[in-house]
């Protein structure tokens, strides 16, 4: 492994640990993560209503007569955001594309995560037999793969020499 790669890995792990420590602290969890999760739940509930599901939300709970879920850490997309942001901060890049990449990446992850929450609830109502495997493994992995794909696209684009550089 080259020196730059080792440096990237070290920075990535350090950023991950620092962000985790911040997010796991009680004040941040109560004042930021929980309200954010509640916000996601409200939008997901609206999406489900649009799809014709008779649902209501209360805090981080989505419920109907047939099924209810409590959206917790691990289901709010924060872990995928954490990995993506850590990787983008660890990668050598100018400030502007880095900031733009983080903003766009986080937006894409959360857009997909809204669909994930809504689809999991729908599976819980209509296909309870496969709910657990989709909840525990499929969606979590897909979201992480999405953040890896976003990072690879972003970093490849940055690494590609621009026409002006080639002169």
């Amino acid at each position: 492994m080259k020196r730059e790669q080792k440096l990237f890995l070290a920075k990535f792990v350090a950023a991950l640990v620092i962000f985790y420590a911040i997010l796991a602290s009680r004040p941040v969890d109560e004042k930021v993560v929980l309200p954010f999760t509640t916000f996601l739940v409200r939008i997901s509930t609206s999406l489900l209503k649009l799809a014709g599901e008779p649902v209501m939300s209360s805090g981080t709970m989505i419920s109907s007569a047939a099924f209810s879920v409590d959206v917790k850490n691990g289901c709010n997309g924060v872990e995928a955001m954490l990995l993506l942001v850590s990787a983008m901060l660890a990668f050598p890049a100018p400030a502007r594309p880095r900031f733009a990449g983080i903003l766009a990446g986080v937006a894409i992850i959360q857009a997909v995560n809204l669909f994930r929450i809504a689809s999991l609830f729908w599976l819980g109502v209509h296909h309870r037999d496969v709910f657990e495997v989709f909840h525990a493994a499929v969606w979590q992995t897909l979201l992480i793969l999405l953040s890896v794909a976003i990072f690879l696209l972003w970093s490849t684009r940055l690494a590609r020499p621009r026409p002006a550089d080639a002169r």
């Binding site: 792990v13 796991a24 990995l83 495997v133 525990a136 493994a137 979590q140 992995t141 992480i144």
Partner: protein, 193 residues
């Protein structure tokens, strides 16, 4: 960095499907291996050594010789600790030529390390259960520092560690196995003497 094209995405999707099927199908047997590997470590960490771990379906059941014989045995949902197999196989599938030369050896090392992290996750989660979830027994046997340590370790693994392990093993061991194993191309424009 590896590029991202349609072929790579298709390989990742196929790898994910394969990894998921393997993980889902092999979990009951795999849990037996995990319980066997984690049990000696848990017993090493306690005085007296009283823990026995065994697999039951998709769970790893925790038994202790000092538990009342008529009380229910707690179980760890091992799926939550091992599902990163799907992520790892999906990422490994994007590496072309992995089945050749050094790639197989690196893949074997990475899978062995993945198993070690799974066994460590079982140990951490058993200790977390002992330290935090058994009421007065937990408070009597674990101090504040120990409770914080096991609680943080278990939470870190479940939130980011499980994904980070798969990513790091792929990045550090599997990703560039082809480039390093392949012969270097000759410089263009020069003839061999």
């Amino acid at each position: 960095l590896p590029g991202l094209d349609l072929r790579t995405l298709a390989r990742a999707a196929a790898g994910f499907a394969l990894g998921l099927a393997l993980w889902w199908g092999a979990t009951p047997q795999y849990n037996r291996l995990l319980a066997g590997a984690a049990e000696p470590v848990v017993r090493f960490l306690e005085r007296p050594a009283a823990t026995r771990l065994y697999a039951e379906g998709r769970e790893i059941v925790i038994d202790r010789s000092d538990f009342p014989s008529d009380s229910a045995r707690p179980g760890l949902p091992a799926d939550d600790l091992t599902f990163n197999v799907g992520l790892f196989v999906a990422l490994a599938a994007t590496v072309r030529g992995l089945a050749r030369d050094r790639g197989v050896g690196r893949l074997f090392v990475a899978l062995t390390l993945l198993f070690v992290t799974h066994a460590a996750a079982v140990v951490v989660n058993v200790e977390f259960l002992y330290a935090m979830q058994l009421g007065p027994w937990s408070e009597a046997h674990y101090g504040t520092a120990a409770r914080n340590f096991w609680g943080t370790a278990a939470h870190f693994y479940r939130v980011v560690g499980i994904h980070a392990v798969a990513l790091l093993l792929w990045w550090a061991l599997v990703r560039d196995s082809r480039e390093e194993g392949a012969p270097k191309p000759e410089p263009r424009g020069r003839k061999r003497k």
